[in-house]
């Protein structure tokens, strides 16, 4: 199963349409898409809407790969369940977001080998097929922040008690 998710804030029809088309070409693979009501309705994917964190994790765990926007929530969730993730940044020019910060986020995390990135719908389609045919390992992360950050916050909290 391939799990497609766009977050809960804004629609992302460019991604959903592209993956829906891919789903129509890959009939042997099941696609489940979390999308937003009132926007493009997939024809070849099962659709879900407002997912609780528990349900979201459940679907992520079942998935072979995860396709999403370049939102940190989805990226972190995928990394925590150790699933390969392919992201396509939302773009300001298509009015998919209010600033182009997802490009830089995606770029940086791609360089650090945490994620795969598609910068266009054409690249998205080819990369999905690549990822299924040649599953390449990505960086793993633990369940919590770096020890250094936890320690620094703990110290601040301890000081606040006095």
């Amino acid at each position: 199963m391939i799990f497609v998710t766009i977050g809960t804030q804004l629609p992302f029809d460019r991604l959903i349409k592209a993956v829906d088309q891919l789903a129509s070409e890959m009939k042997e693979t099941e696609f489940i898409a979390q999308t937003i009501k009132g926007h493009y309705q997939p024809k070849y994917m099962k659709t879900v809407y407002d997912l609780s964190p528990t349900k979201f994790t459940e679907l992520s765990k079942k998935a072979q790969i995860i396709i999403s926007h370049a939102g940190m929530g989805t990226i972190l969730s995928a990394l925590m369940v150790e699933k390969p993730i392919l992201v396509m940044p939302r773009l300001l020019k298509h009015k998919e977001i209010r600033s182009d910060h997802q490009i830089a986020t995606a770029n940086t995390l791609e360089d650090l080998r945490y994620i795969n990135v598609a910068y266009s719908t054409a690249e998205l389609k080819s990369k999905v097929r690549d990822m299924i045919n040649n599953p390449a390992p990505l960086h793993k992360i633990g369940n919590f922040a770096s020890d250094e950050l936890i320690k620094s916050i703990t110290e601040f909290l301890d000081k606040s008690k006095k």
Binding site: G7, T54, T105, F144, A145, L149, L157
Partner: protein, 147 residues
């Protein structure tokens, strides 16, 4: 000591969850913008406010008032947030109404520059973190990231 941990739904919330071990040995309340996120923090006090991520002014005003009321009910000694708008508003109200100690952790998504909310938070936060070493400067600490 009572800590209020705040984040809007989505990536900000997922980042906040990764900081939870730092809160050990304190009473913690959580505040976010989706009711069903209580799933994640079952054993803790949980509050939600309206989601005003859109540009709707009325919703933003309503959220601002809701948060002020929540702060007065929760009465935290420390407020920590990973953003965005509800986090900033919590820091501001906490500082003004209760003199709470305040921490802003700028989202890891802000790779090129500190977020606008983060810049505003500097005035109300006792500690501001960036998660990228190249963005560290005076008053903005880098001490690792949520990864």
């Amino acid at each position: 000591m009572k800590i209020l941990a705040v984040a809007s739904a989505g990536g900000h919330w997922v980042q906040l969850m990764r900081l939870v071990p730092a809160f050990d040995n304190n009473e913690v309340a959580f505040l976010t913008t989706k009711k069903n996120f209580s799933d994640n923090v079952e054993d803790h006090e949980f509050h939600s406010v309206i989601d005003a991520a859109s540009d709707a002014k009325f919703k933003l005003i309503l959220m601002t008032i809701q948060i002020a009321i929540k702060i007065l009910i929760i009465r935290p000694n420390v407020i920590i947030t990973t953003g965005a708008a509800p986090g900033l508003l919590s820091l501001v109200w906490g500082k003004l109404l209760l003199g709470s100690r305040t921490i802003w952790v700028d989202s890891i998504a802000n790779v090129e520059k500190i977020s606008l909310s983060g810049k505003l938070a500097k005035r109300f936060a006792d500690q501001v973190y960036t998660q990228w070493s190249h963005l560290e400067e005076s008053e903005i600490l880098y001490r690792g990231s949520i990864l």
